[in-house]
Symmetry: C2
Subunit: 334 residues, 2 copies
């Protein structure tokens, strides 16, 4: 492996000059720059990441803690990850992948100076990692919204607004009895922030609009969906509108509705909160509120970089939800 010294020799300059050519932190005359670049190209020189990190205390690596575990919708997770990695590459950074259950992982990579910054997904309302994160030298961005975000940057879809939007749309379409089929119990039990927030928004909008409503959670299996749908429709047979916030249960919920003979949208309207591609992959294209995972992941990177450059304070950004009407809803009556 060629070193900066080799390049310097080949170009007839000092190592520091090569370094300045690379970093642009001091002006270099055009001819010199050209010679150096030439030497770099012919030698195939790449700066040694470790040496660079040691000297500059910058690794150009972002740590990403992702939930590679059950109960979480994989395709949503993937989109977030993709967004983070893609945007990180745009700003010349790489991504080190940490898993949720790697307790101590945050501490390890942060204290060991393996990363410049950290992004954490799937945050719970009272996430046990928060104190750790606050204690780190590196800036952190949460994807999700804990109860007390003090000192930490957060970004997420405004799930509360999404819950409201879903219920609001149903109300507007003329439904009077509605229900939310929510995240799996294991997700709710952890008080994962987005799950709680959807419920809150949904309830609130229903109250505001005077809708009779119900909230059930749903194990994302055929049986789980059957149980959830039956619970809702048996308890309140007048229910005509459903908000579903459970990507994996979606197909089974629709199947159960069909099985029971409820036509969608004629007899039961469905609004899904899920990535658009999931909404489109169902038996009929669903009216949905998109979870723009890639976008949010990208924003997380931007936020973390902003804090890395300027010493900005922490901020919270909630992305406004948007509802796209498709075949699973229709205005009622006339």
């Amino acid at each position: 492996m060629a070193t900066i010294e080799d390049v310097a020799k080949a170009a007839g300059v000092s190592a520091s000059t090569v370094s300045y050519v690379l970093s642009g932190k001091r002006s270099i005359s055009a001819p010199t720059r050209r010679r150096v670049e030439q030497a770099i190209a012919t030698l195939g020189y790449r700066p040694h990441a470790g040496a660079r990190a040691l000297a500059s205390s910058r690794t150009n690596v972002i740590g990403l803690m992702a939930p590679l575990r059950s109960g979480v919708d994989v395709s949503v997770v993937m989109q977030f990850v993709t967004g983070v990695v893609t945007r990180a590459r745009d700003v010349d950074h790489d991504v080190l992948l940490l898993t949720q259950d790697d307790s101590g992982g945050l501490e390890r990579v942060a204290a060991g100076s393996m990363v410049d910054a950290i992004i954490v997904m799937d945050v719970e309302a009272d996430d046990p990692r928060l104190p750790v994160l606050r204690s780190l030298r590196q800036p952190t961005v949460l994807i999700g919204l804990p109860h007390d975000p003090a000192g930490l940057s957060c970004v997420d879809l405004d799930f509360e607004a999404a819950g409201r939007l879903g219920a609001g749309r149903l109300a507007q379409d003329g439904h009077r009895e509605v229900a939310l089929i929510g995240s799996p119990p294991e997700v709710m039990d952890r008080h994962t922030s987005y799950a709680d927030r959807v419920v809150r928004g949904f309830r609130q909008a229903c109250a505001d609009q005077g809708l009779r409503h119900d909230v059930v959670h749903c194990v994302p299996t055929p049986d789980g969906a059957r149980a959830a749908v039956d619970a809702v429709l048996d308890a309140a047979p007048g229910t005509t509108g459903l908000v579903v916030h459970n990507e994996r249960a979606l197909p089974h919920v629709l199947a159960r509705l069909a099985e029971r003979g409820h036509d969608v949208p004629a007899e039961v309207a469905v609004v899904a909160i899920c990535p658009t591609d999931v909404a489109l992959a169902q038996r009929i294209p669903l009216t949905s509120i998109d979870i723009p995972g890639e976008h949010i992941g990208g924003v997380a990177v931007d936020m973390v970089m902003a804090r890395l450059e300027g010493d900005r304070p922490a901020e919270t950004r909630l992305i406004a939800p948007e509802l796209t009407p498709r075949a699973s809803t229709a205005a009622r009556g006339a």
Copy 2:
């Protein structure tokens, strides 16, 4: 941040002694070791990863190139990733995540000494990355099997055997006309290695057993599945057995079969090649050949570590497929 020097001072020893305590590369007396460990604990010392990498030319990081792109079944990818990350942590390594379309990513992280080794997923038959990989200083393991694996280690499910196993099972159950519903066209067009191999194995077993057979590819949408199922059953109405190697199309294929009034397994038997959890999440539990993603990911790490330690030659390991009978198949006639 405490440095090794701080620890040394606190423990009343030299820095090199601390280093030897940490690495275990020389023997240290029990009392000294204890004092050093004590100092490390009280100071919360963590070695600086960059400094360590610089001095030892070992980063304890594995690069993982994963396909965060369309056409690939996310949940399978996730399982591989989980397997890699989990096993990597077991052997005290971290994982740097690269995406497929980050051309130059391999070169960058390898030449920049960011990683000790590389694992590449979703390999195509004539993958353009192979020459690059062969030129790297770091050992590489492919998850998948290219035409010419010379010089590179490979691990994967034996998809050819899986194709054979699926067809063989159908034959054994008494089916005479069968079909394979395979990966999406975009995956086939890339000649992604596993897709090709399933087809080959399937065809071969059908030929051996004298089964009339057909192979179609399937866009993983409701319409795509409809088209695939219709194509098969309209062309050969006597078809009674299906092997499906397309995780995302699975629910739609089953739905279409139901729609057409074909009972599973009474009239059409279905063998799926997919992760077990996917097979269990369908409308009925499917007879399936598991894709043991986590396991394979773990094996990939083991192989890469083996090459890192000893200077072993490259090897190829194919995991034998196993078929688990469930509700979607049954012996025919009697």
